[in-house]
């Protein structure tokens, strides 16, 4: 695991994304973030003072020059709320990266696949870099990928359950099929769980099938970036999509992304 992780054209030396909840103080969180070596920190927008009125604010304890702040939409129960929250975050100057969470069930916090996909399509169209928390459903993950998401983030087990990789077999399929980084997002309760997730490298198909499976765990050398209206297209290219002709996407620098066996819906090439 020597290579850097690359998401939407940004390289990360650390493959650990750290949350901001359950710390006894902001200072304790700051020390923990430093010790973790992470470069990406996710924060629940519902806990941020969206009106920036000077109240107690978790953002004060996160060095935004050091960490990529990844706002998340936890608490949203449908696509409309998630989209609204992401737009509010952007309006207050937070990054346009968003960890998409749509969880209508407040107890198990299981993601709503229908609303998550709907929100992802809308947010990608709005130019957001979308990292969606989702069920360990390989077909859903392909839909999210084709919608232009920069990663997929299947759950290892229910949020907060500390049960580890209960969805291991499904995640194996997701990793095997993915053209975007796969981030195991929930249910890990021990370092060994994280290690097991990192060891789930995709098996390579035989050359006769003329396909390299891009490993989300290896990272991706594609660095193409874009802004504005081109982001939908760009996100798909950054995600390693290919032209219908089966050639490697011309926007991608990677020649390891050859996927002649399948065209990707919506690719502009």
């Amino acid at each position: 695991m020597n290579g850097k992780l690359e998401i939407a054209g940004r390289a990360f030396a650390s493959r650990l994304i750290v949350g901001t909840g359950k710390f006894s103080s902001g200072d304790a969180m700051r020390v923990a973030l430093d010790a973790s070596g992470t470069e990406m920190v996710t924060v629940a927008l519902r806990r941020v003072d969206l009106d920036a009125s000077g109240g107690p604010d978790i953002l004060e304890f996160i060095d935004r020059n050091r960490y990529l702040l990844l706002p998340n939409t936890s608490g949203a129960i449908d696509a409309a709320e998630a989209v609204r929250l992401a737009r509010l975050a952007r309006a207050m100057g937070l990054p346009d990266w968003v960890k998409l969470e749509v969880t209508p069930d407040p107890r198990y916090l299981l993601p709503d696949p229908v609303e998550t996909l709907k929100a992802a399509e809308q947010l990608v169209a709005d130019g957001f870099i979308v990292l969606p928390y989702c069920s360990a459903d390989p077909v859903l993950c392909k839909h999210l990928e084709e919608a232009g998401c920069a990663t997929v983030m299947p759950l290892g087990s229910w949020i907060g359950s500390n049960q580890g990789l209960r969805t291991r077999d499904a995640i194996k399929i997701i990793v095997e099929q993915a053209s975007v980084p796969v981030v195991v997002d929930a249910g890990l309760g021990a370092p060994s769980h994280a290690a097991a997730a990192m060891e789930m490298r995709p098996r390579r198909r035989r050359p006769s099938r003329a396909s390299w499976i891009r490993s989300d765990l290896r990272g991706d050398p594609c660095t193409h970036t874009g802004t504005g209206a081109g982001r939908v297209r760009d996100a798909r290219h950054r995600s390693g999509c290919l032209s219908r002709s089966g050639q490697t996407c011309r926007f991608s620098r990677s020649r390891r992304l050859r996927r002649p066996d399948r065209a990707t819906r919506g690719c502009p090439s």
Partner: protein, 300 residues
């Protein structure tokens, strides 16, 4: 962390244990919008972003229009607003949700119908079934957070109410699966009513109940208000308490104009909010002042 904000102690219901009961010779007061905003600004300055609005039960003075007006004004100060007031029908809850109400708290007080009838002798609150159905109506109307509870010290034996409360919660988890649920087990406190239980629930019994609720309802919120003593409250937190108030006043206007009206009951934990937050941190917990934002809801 949340703060109660009493808007009125006017009441047309006679609950024989309550300090607001109709007919009690107490100083009564209903806040204007300007007064509730002053109270809100006081609480916001102390860090609160979640406020629980409370009233007695008075159809005319504290009806849906009254509540909607106050909620509309307080929304500028608080991203999360809950109500603990009289129960409404579904359409009325829908109006309140549209006004910006996120949570509704309805204590059944006692789940035993006979005891309920004995303690609620007059007024709208006499209707046991209508009150019991309140949380479901609120959920159907789009209210996001529900609170239920039993007032310990009314029905004997109290364990029957505890079991009924858990059963009610388990039922709501099925029929109101989109709503966050919290349960509360307040103990009767001294009030102008003069009521005191023959067999009060002891500290040991309350601790046992908190443990039992946590086992039966592992993912459900448990509320502990300022009715309990500081040291005891701190000791209960590791057993499973998730929601707490601090620095509370139970009289309308009590934060900025104290002493002008009667409170609903006497609080026991009089520590300031930041003192309680410090106590939580010392226990290794994170005091959360803001956990929701009504801005997330389209149209609000």
């Amino acid at each position: 962390m949340y703060a109660p904000l009493y808007l009125s102690n006017e009441c047309l219901t006679t609950c024989t244990y309550c300090g607001f009961a109709k007919g009690l010779p107490i100083a009564r007061k209903t806040l204007s919008v300007a007064q509730s905003l002053r109270e809100g600004e006081f609480l916001r300055a102390r860090g609160y972003r979640h406020v629980l609005l409370l009233t007695g039960e008075h159809q005319k003075l504290t009806g849906v229009d009254f509540l909607g007006e106050h909620v509309g004004a307080l929304r500028a100060l608080f991203p999360q607003i809950s109500l603990e007031v009289q129960v409404w029908n579904e359409d009325e809850y829908r109006r309140l949700a549209a006004a910006g109400v996120d949570g509704v708290v309805i204590y059944q007080e006692t789940y035993d119908p006979d005891s309920y009838a004995r303690f609620h002798v007059a007024g709208k609150k006499r209707d046991y079934e209508f009150r019991l159905g309140g949380p479901e109506r609120a959920a159907r109307a789009g209210i996001r957070r529900l609170g239920i509870g039993a007032l310990l010290g009314l029905h004997e034996p109290w364990r029957e109410d505890a079991i009924a409360l858990a059963a009610h919660a388990l039922h709501l988890l099925k029929v109101a699966w989109r709503q966050e649920l919290a349960v509360s087990v307040p103990r009767i406190r001294p009030s102008a009513s003069g009521y005191s239980p023959e067999h009060p629930v002891t500290d040991r019994e309350l601790a046992q109940l908190i443990c039992a609720l946590r086992l039966v309802l592992p993912d459900t919120g448990i509320v502990m208000s300022t009715r309990e003593a500081p040291g005891f409250r701190d000791a209960l937190v590791p057993l499973g308490v998730t929601h707490t108030s601090a620095g509370s006043h139970t009289d309308p206007g009590g934060y900025t104009e104290p002493g002008e009206a009667e409170g609903q009951f006497e609080v026991d934990d009089t520590r300031a909010p930041e003192e309680v937050a410090d106590a939580l941190r010392a226990l290794g917990y994170e005091p959360v002042w803001k956990d929701w934002d009504a801005l997330m809801r389209a149209g609000v």
